[in-house]
Symmetry: C2
Subunit: 646 residues, 2 copies
């Protein structure tokens, strides 16, 4: 599906099972049948299974660590970063636990909510860190229950730093990470995948390196599934540690923690906290360039790349864990140079899937939210079942209210002043609104010299893929057909097509042409006359803010507008035009006029009244051309409408 | 889907809703969503609703009455007749109730079982007659419960003929049809649609015509949904009756019973039973030609056509009910001349749908039973849920055992002697078996001069549609690739295509090429080598009678091989190659070698041992070419295999 925004959030598409490759397997009558076509094995596997499958297949992978942000604005930025870095195909990300920052709360910046957003809205497999010391059993259980409720499936079990110097073991308390591991297994059985920390140089507080290895073994034997290590500076440190672990019987995956040096001060701070010593050869390079950030980062990237290469070449390492410090550039650079950053991750479905276990069978969505996938996830978060195969099968068709249009992960990234520059400090007529839409489409600056890079319905600039439609879109927007969503028809392109492809390779993808826009009642009247000529070919839904609805859809059935045919699988139809959910989308689409645009202006101001007029009087229209093998007729429909009006 | 048998049983496809025609309808948020794409409204409507919809649409329709046969052989023939006459598109058929013939029993010839077969195996909307006099309440309730259990939804409530002359009313007994109507409504609420009989000349035992009209009104007010009339000879008789009914407040549909005169004796007998008088003008024509059956039938057809025309032209009649006397020719002729016989009924799905209410959402089946749809229905009759949308969603994947291969509706229409002539009185080698398959494909007589018109896996001659594949099929069968099912690939033909089309108009249908055959282990070994070259393109399942199974299907998922894209609807994928059900089909396909073929010969005879050898040692193979837009590669696969063997 191509629509008027970029697919930046195509996360969790890091790997897939290609059709027809498991040849010669024996099977019997007793094999269980799967109830849903497994397009993307990742969605159905636990993290530890994904790790094992990657290792068995000889695939190299990476993961990314982030810490929770301090402010709501920083949270919005971090989530954009999840989307961008998620596109590179990490096996998982993890979010650290900051006891001082109310980590289990519902604040936008808490560890819990950031992890929740990563899983549910960015579709990333996520590990939530959790520390146990100085906490009651009830607190910990409460956090774990909440994590489970939010769809989190993986916990990194840590002791955490004792508060104050004179920390003492509590009898029956949570004194060590192993206590937390045991508690999780006792209370939640096998629900969570558990990760624990390993210290290649030994924990600074351990009696000895050997004693620390024994502690690690205890954690694993208590139920941990894999180990992520503290950072280290030399590959041989890790490889020795790994051999020592194996020697005492630790057989689970051990993932090296990689810290690309990104600056002098961050390195010093980290070293202080972790009580590690920086090797002399590194100090020798860094000290002379300590005030040159770029030079240090370049060196850090070099160093990390060479260390990672050595680790991967050893044959003992399959995945690399990166301490990102919430920054993108250095880690991305290292990953690209190692060749494990997915430049063009294949999409398992045309839209960004969520990683919540409840949504693992979800494979159909209405097209309307194509540019607002996070809003769709938010408004369907209370659903217990998600449509699988057919949209109509969803047993919970009620959409949640979307009252808070500034919910932090739906918030526009642009501040009010910028929006005013883009959408007009002062509107003088409906035509000045048409102009804003037209500038968004063309990418040309508006009359005040500002480019329109987002719209209330599209938070991102027009996708390059939509350029083919640009001329047509410009023409119609200029005349008051204010488009907010569209896709061309496609008659069987390979599923590997770089622009419109999705799903496993060897398949074919199809689309019906789609066009969605706001327009005046005058144009709607003419349009309806024209549509009579296209009665058997074009399905339409035309609705105003009051819910007056005109449609020719038979029996309110959904119309599949994107589908794919794959080797050895049932047909997947991930996008539908659904008459019923269109009415929920209508509420949201009309409200955005007011909430995002009209409210930029003073009450009673002419600008505000113009937007209010459009909100009150315009119609939201969608059109589907059912004859996907023929040339898209929707432009002709619009042209005929304009002709009729002249 | 085209396979190696004719689609004679494409019943109940008499009408459909064409996409995108209900324009301008208002709808609101509260409208309920349908959980399955309604391809064929008929499947979801009650008979009375179908009648109303046809009347509202101004469609004329017909229905057919049959009586239960005396012998099992006659039952097999009657069911073939249901298939053939069902193809003409009756709105329903009805089966009369013969108290003397144990009508509620499980005998192959009982009214109950014949009606059951019509509904479930021929997919015909069916009314079961039921009489009440001289029966206990418990008997009647038992019959009704059984009818409901079998999926019958319509009852014609009759009094029946009292046994003996001195019949007297019983207090609290079932003395009149109205008692039965009340009983059905009391005990079964609104479950059944109820039909009652009307007498255009008044019931022979009624005190008067007017009194009889009042009785009819009582039956309607007690809960009958519509009326079918006794036969009559003059259109004005019916039209007067209808006006009189309306005058006293009977508003339900009244369907005239049409009796095309088919012979002198049958007319006399009917007249005697019904106590009707044949008008003089008819007697005058018939008496002189009473020994000329053909002449009488021609006259009967003329008479019926002109009477039906007058009824339809009156504007008061929308449907015609035919007393067929279990014969085809006269009724079919009348219907064709009236123009209400559907010459080319459009199929709602590629396979014959069942009319059992439990199966109303069923829209996916495995391809394996394509030539044995009745067997498929039989083996899935215990399922509570049927797959809707996706095969994998079926919650009851267990197939019933098929022990009785001569279950009457699965019985071969040909007697043993004929089968021996077709399949060989004496087999001398595996090659003589290849020859039988080849003759079936080519239609050429075998070495003894007999045509092979059926096979154990295909009860009908090769479909004309398969002629395109004939040359290829002949070549491979001659060399020991014994084909039993195949379909070509189709890349988007109109749904109205006369050969491969199905579903509502305005859509496009697709197929993946499919080939299924028995072959020797030697050929399988070569085939597997060849298939390595086609690994990403061709999915295969290869299994022997012991269940050893070789496949490259990913995760045992079903492969959709027939699908359709329609205006304003979700995608329909009615046929799949399902790895799990293939193993159930395998049991049936192998058993047919023995049950239908080997058992024609003496035990220990060489002929029997050859079939037994094939049964024990051959493999059943299916191949799917996933690249449906390209030229079918399966013939190349087979050719490569033969080349490798040379």
């Amino acid at each position: 599906m191509v629509n008027e925004t970029q697919h930046t959030c195509s996360a969790s598409s890091s790997s897939r099972s290609d059709g027809g490759s498991s040849s010669g397997s024996e099977s019997s009558k007793d094999n269980s049948r799967c109830s849903t076509p497994v397009l993307d094995a990742d969605r159905h596997e636990r993290l530890r299974e994904k790790m094992r499958r990657r290792q068995d297949a000889g695939d190299k992978w990476f993961s990314l660590e982030f810490f929770p942000p301090r402010t709501a604005n920083a949270a919005v930025n971090l989530i954009s970063r999840f989307d961008r870095m998620g596109a590179g195909g990490p096996l998982f990300i993890d979010v650290t636990w900051h006891p001082a920052g109310d980590p289990g709360s519902d604040k936008e910046t808490s560890s819990m909510i950031i992890a929740n957003t990563a899983v549910n809205y960015c579709g990333l497999e996520t590990i939530l860190h959790m520390t146990c010391c100085n906490q009651t059993k009830d607190d910990i259980t409460g956090h774990l229950q909440k994590a489970k409720r939010l769809g989190l499936k993986n916990i990194m079990a840590l002791r955490g730093d004792p508060a104050g110097e004179e920390w003492e073991e509590e009898v029956d308390g949570f004194n060590y990470a192993v206590d937390l591991v045991k508690h999780i297994r006792n209370e939640f059985d096998d629900y969570f995948d558990i990760c624990v920390a390993g210290y290649p140089k030994g924990h600074p507080e351990a009696e000895s390196y050997e004693a620390d290895l024994r502690h690690l073994k205890e954690k694993v034997f208590a139920g941990a599934d894999f180990i992520i290590t503290q950072l280290f500076f030399r590959p041989e440190t890790f490889l020795k540690f790994m051999k020592d672990c194996q020697a005492i019987g630790i057989t689970c995956p051990i993932i090296p923690g990689i810290f690309p040096i990104q600056g002098y001060h961050s390195l010093r701070q980290l070293v202080k906290l972790s009580k590690l010593e920086v090797p002399q050869e590194i100090k020798d390079v860094i000290e002379p360039i300590k005030d040159n950030d770029a030079a240090i980062r370049n060196y850090g990237v070099e160093l990390a790349v060479s260390m990672c290469r050595e680790l991967l070449d050893s044959g003992m390492v399959h995945g690399l864990h990166f301490y990102t410090l919430n920054r993108e550039v250095a880690t991305t650079e290292v990953l690209k140079r190692l060749g494990i950053w997915k430049e063009d991750p294949r999409r398992p479905l045309p839209w960004a899937v969520s990683a919540h276990p409840k949504r693992r069978v979800e494979d159909v969505r209405p097209i309307f939210w194509a540019s607002r996938p996070k809003s769709y996830i938010y408004r369907t978060q209370e659903w217990d079942d998600f449509p699988n195969g057919r949209w109509g099968n969803s047993s919970s068709p009620a959409f949640g209210e979307l009252k808070d249009y500034y919910l932090f992960y739906l918030k526009s990234k642009s501040p009010r002043e910028e929006l005013l520059k883009m959408w007009g400090e002062e509107l003088t007529s409906e035509e000045s609104v048409f102009e804003v839409f037209t500038c968004y489409i063309t990418g040309e600056p508006n009359r005040n010299g500002y480019k329109v890079t987002c719209m209330p319905w599209n938070d991102d600039p027009l996708a390059t893929e939509t350029n083919l439609l640009k001329d047509q879109l410009e023409k119609v927007n200029r005349r008051g057909i204010l488009t907010i969503n569209s896709q061309p028809n496609i008659n069987g392109k390979p599923s590997t097509d770089p622009i419109v492809g999705w799903g496993p390779s060897g398949g074919y993808v199809f689309q019906k042409a789609y066009l969605e826009f706001f327009t005046s009642s005058e144009i709607v009247t003419a349009l309806l006359k024209v549509l009579k000529k296209y009665e058997l070919r074009v399905n339409y839904h035309i609705v105003n803010v009051k819910g007056q609805n005109i449609t020719n859809a038979p029996d309110l059935q959904p119309n599949a507008v994107t589908w794919g045919i794959f080797p050895g699988r049932e047909i997947i139809q991930p996008t539908v035009v659904d008459p019923v959910s269109f009415l929920s989308w209508k509420d949201e689409a009309f409200a955005l006029w007011i909430e995002q645009w009209a409210k930029l202006y003073e009450e009673e101001s002419p600008s505000r009244m113009i937007i209010q007029y459009i909100h009150d009087n315009y119609y939201l229209v969608n059109l589907v051309d059912n004859d996907f093998p023929l040339e898209n007729c929707l432009w002709q429909v619009v042209e005929d409408t304009f002709e009729l009006l002249n």
